[in-house]
Each structure stands twice: as structure tokens, then as C-alpha cells.
Symmetry: C2
Subunit: 345 residues, 2 copies
């Protein structure tokens, strides 16, 4: 946090909102009216509007003891635009509501907004509204994202067909290992406040947790390549959990291959330090914000040019269930442990 | 709260969302895809989209010791659709995110959702998405409302002109007096838990606080009467504060008349019990969710048929400031005490 400390409550709600939003630069022609009225006005003539929302609560979704506020602001936007991309849509506007306790200074809030605006800039979205209020305890963040998509080009979770290829983007599991490092360093710090954190060499996995990116590039690639996925979602709760959602909502089964699951060398090395299996991190870690999608086998040739896309398996009849073939050749049912299973809550 | 107690955490997030949303009945043809995917899809072809959001926090915006959950659910929707109406738009969809602590049972949450659905039904909006998560402390509610308006028919706060009439709907100040009663009974209860609450005869003012309504009827009337207000907003922070917003954003002043401010007999009687001035309640009370709007004097004839609309004054040059003429003929500057001034925070 910054050294200066301006008391937020001294500014009043309207003064505060004005201060934080006065430099907004509108990026979308569809943004007709932004911050400053009862509501924003958006014009998506000829397109369909996509909307999603996420609530982020201190102590549940983030820990301010190791989360820089600027990163938190950035991530708050990213997790929502990721949901818009997961519909095969382009994010255009967000609203942001925050509840904050007195311990927040204006300077701290400005850091948070710096991250919000950096993400707005990165993803081309306009901040068009919101609400700022006092919270009795803890920092509360609620973001709603709006996007647009050409009529009926949106992609649901429920359209996967038997025989479709199952693909995911980027690499998986790193955010979870990043969390393990930060939680470990926090414990050490609380026990021995003098000890300096030892995060040497873990920049990649920690970065994946604190500053994730949404896959704007993939949605652009799919459009450029004229690929319409049959189903899609983003990977926020872990690969296993998301695969089971697609299987359930599409009424299909699937078979995936452990050796095909993309993991980074940095994540593998980091996972071994904790003596955990990198594949388990990829399957159940969550918070990767990569995309998971299915498409007909006939589209395979179009994928090969994109190194960011991995084909990890294919869809089967629902009656065959959802399975993973391990590197050793064994077949296991995929179970939705998700993120929480690791957290020992 | 209900007597049954089903542990919400036993259901998992997806089970819980499914349970609470399984009976949704879609009311708008523009709702193409609702709850259950990464985002909802909305089709407002040929109209503009209006969006607003509000965060409601336990202990700040509501007190569960005297707020029935069903009413709270209803009000959470109403305060947002009120903002949509204040743009001269029609609400069509909402998203709802909630954070809840372990003390909430499924039955309590069902009561809350009963209120949400009752309001959705009343205002013709579809619940199309949201997020449900654990909160470490306190109940967190975030609602985003979407609406539609014919191209460029939306009404901002900034269009009031010198000479325009200033109008408000319904009656003002009752919600604030209702709050005084409930806060008094809570204090008495905490001091002497055996004493039964004495709210006899205060049904109107308490109802105005706990179950406000948004002015759907007025927006319909304005459309039917072919009236396009020059500025409009809803009265959530108190009449004074909202008048000053319109003056500031429109670059005008105003003169209003105390005797023209609509107050109910029930509110007056209740205010006298607390030995406070009913006009002060109307000016600074807040949470009325009535509409405040301006329109050219030439439209006056169209208004007279609607008893729910009061002309309380007119707009002047900005240099003349914002004033109220009291019943005694004195002229005072209007100041924005707002809701908070009463709360002794």
C-alpha cells in the first residue's frame, strides 16, 4: 500500500466515485452513457448482449496479505471478461461495485482502480457504472461484464456432440501451485515475521494466480479461422470440474489423456517442491482462466497452427462416462474435486 | 426464519444455484439464455440497453434483526429496477450475486429468493445469472439490472432547462420514519427482550421501508401521455440530495415550495411521535424510490390527470441557486443532508 493515507470517508460517495472515474476513456461506440447517472446506456444494435457477474470477497476469494491491490483490480475484471469470452463473445462494458471498510485509504483504492483500468484497457472494455459503499468488515468486489456477439454465434456449455474433440488453451495448474507458495510464505511470515519470503524462481506460477489473463486471443483466432465451437466454458474451478459440466449439460461422456494435458515446466518444477502431482494440479487446481471447448473432428486441421490450443481428448456417449487415460495406460473416472478439495476446508 | 434448517454448504454451489433457480419462468422474449452458463444472452435488437448495479451489505444497508428475508429479496430487486425506470427504460433482466455465511439455512435463502421472484414477477424481469458464494461475515447482495429503451429515449440527470417544472411522484419521507420505528423497537427489544414490539398503526411507514415499490406505473404513464422528461432520477438518498444532483448535472438552479412536497398523513402522524418535522423527513429521508423529473411547462396539462405526480417547483438559472420556500414564506438554500445525516454516523 502507498505511504500517503487520505481518509476515504472524508470524500463522500459521490466525491469518491467522481475522483476514481474522472479519467475514463470510452473505448466502445456502443457505450452511449457511462458512469454518473442512474444507469448506463448501451447500444448493441444488430448484436446480442451477453452478461455475467462475479462477487469477490476478502478472506474467501483473495487474501490482501499477499495480493497487491493493483493485481486484485486487474483480476476482478479478468475473471468476468473470461466468462464473456467463454460465450464466444467480445466484452464491451463492465460495472464495478465495491464495499470497503475504513481502513482503506484513497491511495489504496487508487491502486485497485489502476489495476481495473489496466484490465479495461487490455480487454477494450468501458467501466460504465457501479456503486461504492462502506463495508463493516472486509473488502467486497462485485463486477458485472457485458459483451456482444453476432446473432446466435454464442457458445453454450450444452452443445458438445459424441465424437467432438475436447480442447483446452494455454497450460493448467500453475495458479494453484502459486497459491501454495503464497500460503506457505504467509504461514512462515506469521510464525517468524523477520524471515524474508522465498519466492525465487516462482514468478510464473505466482503470476498466474495474481495476474491471470483471459483468452481474448483465442476468441479472435476462432473467429479468424471460422471455427464455431460446439461447447465452451472457461476453466475457473479446475479442468475436471469443467469437463464434467460440459458432459452433463451436453449429455455426453468423454475420454481424455493425461499426457495431452498442457502443463508448464515451471509448474511441474514447483509442484514437485510440494511433492504433489502436476497432473492433479492441472485437473483440480482451478483459477487458470483458460478456455475449454469442443468442436467437430473436421475442424482439427484448423487448430494445428495455434500452439496455444491442445487437443486433450474426445467426447463419447454419455453412457461411457468421463474418463482419463493415465500415462501408465490406466483408465480412471474423472471426479470433480475442484479447487476446494485442495484447500482442506 | 423457517424452522427447518438445511445446511447450505452441504449442497455445493452448483446444487444450490440449481435448487434456487430451477423454477424460473422466462418473461421476456429478449432473454435468449438465462442461468446456467458462463453468461446470459440478451437480444435487444432495435433498442438500447440500460444497465445499473447496487451492492447491499448487512449492517450497512439492512439489519436482519427486523428485515424479513422475503422483503429483503424483494427490495434488492426493486432498488435496481427503480434505477432503470429512472432512465425512462423498462427493466428486462437482472443478475443476482450473494455471499452468505454458514448461519444461513437453505430455508432462509429460499425465503429471500421468494421475495426476489415476487419482484421479478411484479416488474416483469428475468433472473438470468449470478454468483453464490460463502461470506466470512455478513450477508452480501449484489444485483445488476438490465433494461431496454427506444433509441435515444433514455432520460439523463443532465437535461433540465431553466423554466422546466420539477415533479416528484407518490409521497416522501415515510421510509425514513419507518426506519426510526424499527430502530426504536430494536433498542427496546435489546434492553428488555420480553417486551413485544409496538408498531401499531405504523404499517404504512414500515411497509415503505421494508417493501418499497418502483414506479413502473409512472414510466407507463409518461409513455402513454407522450411525455419525454428533460431530466429524471429516482429518490433514494432524499429529495434535497437528488434535486442538487439534477441542478448540478444540468447546470441550473431551482425553487421548490414546502407546501407542494407530497407527504402522507400516516407519515406526518408518525413523524410527530418522534417530534421531528415531516418536511425534513421528506427532504432528507431517502429510500422512497419515487421518481424526480423535470419537463417543459407546456406539458403541464398532461400531468393533471395523474394524482401520483406533484409539481413541487421549477428550474431557474444556475446563478440563482437551489432554494425552498417554506410554508411561512421564508426562503432557504437546499442542502444535501441526505440519509446519512440522520443516522448519526
Amino acid at each position: 500500500m502507498s505511504e500517503q493515507h487520505t481518509d476515504v470517508s472524508s470524500m463522500g460517495e459521490f466525491g469518491l466515485i467522481h475522483h476514481l472515474t474522472k479519467n475514463i476513456d470510452i473505448q466502445n461506440v456502443s457505450t452511449i452513457l457511462g458512469v454518473g447517472d442512474d444507469a448506463a446506456v448501451i447500444d448493441h444494435f444488430g448484436k446480442q448482449t451477453v452478461i455475467t457477474t462475479d462477487l469477490l470477497l476478502e478472506g474467501v476469494h483473495f487474501d490482501l496479505s499477499y495480493t497487491p491491490l493493483k493485481h486484485l483490480g486487474y483480476k476482478s475484471v479478468v475473471v468476468n471478461v473470461s466468462d464473456i469470452y467463454a460465450m464466444n463473445a467480445i466484452p464491451t462494458q463492465i460495472t464495478l461495485s465495491i464495499g470497503l471498510s475504513n481502513r482503506f485509504s484513497l491511495e489504496a483504492l487508487e491502486e485497485f482502480y489502476e489495476g481495473v483500468y489496466a484490465a479495461c484497457d487490455q480487454y477494450g472494455v468501458d467501466l460504465v457504472g457501479g456503486d461504492t459503499c462502506t463495508s463493516k468488515k472486509g473488502f467486497v468486489i462485485s463486477v458485472t461484464a457485458i459483451g456482444e456477439v453476432a446473432p446466435d454465434k454464442y457458445v453454450k456449455r450444452s452443445g458438445a456432440k459424441k465424437g467432438d474433440l475436447l480442447c483446452c488453451t494455454g497450460d493448467l495448474g500453475a495458479a494453484y501451485v502459486g497459491l501454495l507458495f503464497l500460503e506457505r510464505e504467509k504461514r512462515i511470515f506469521l510464525e517468524s515475521p523477520g524471515v524474508q519470503p522465498d519466492l525465487e524462481g516462482e514468478a510464473y506460477v505466482i503470476g498466474r494466480l495474481l495476474k491471470p489473463e483471459a483468452r481474448k486471443d483465442i476468441i479472435q483466432f476462432l473467429a479468424d479461422s471460422d471455427i464455431q465451437p460446439t461447447s465452451m466454458m472457461d476453466i475457473s474451478d479446475g479442468l475436471s470440474s469443467e469437463i464434467l459440466h460440459i458432459c452433463e449439460q451436453s449429455g455426453v461422456g468423454c475420454q481424455i489423456y493425461e499426457e495431452k494435458i498442457p502443463v508448464s515446466e515451471d509448474m511441474k518444477a514447483a509442484a514437485y517442491k510440494f511433492e504433489i502431482d502436476p497432473t492433479a494440479c492441472a485437473l483440480s487446481g482451478g483459477e487458470d482462466y483458460e478456455l475449454l471447448f469442443t468442436l467437430p473432428q473436421s475442424e482439427y486441421d484448423k487448430l494445428v497452427l495455434n500452439e496455444q490450443i491442445s487437443v486433450i481428448g474426445y467426447m463419447t456417449e454419455a453412457s461411457e462416462g468421463a474418463h482419463i487415460i493415465t500415462k501408465g495406460g490406466n483408465k480412471h473416472a474423472i471426479t470433480a474435486q475442484g479447487w476446494n478439495a485442495f484447500k482442506n476446508r
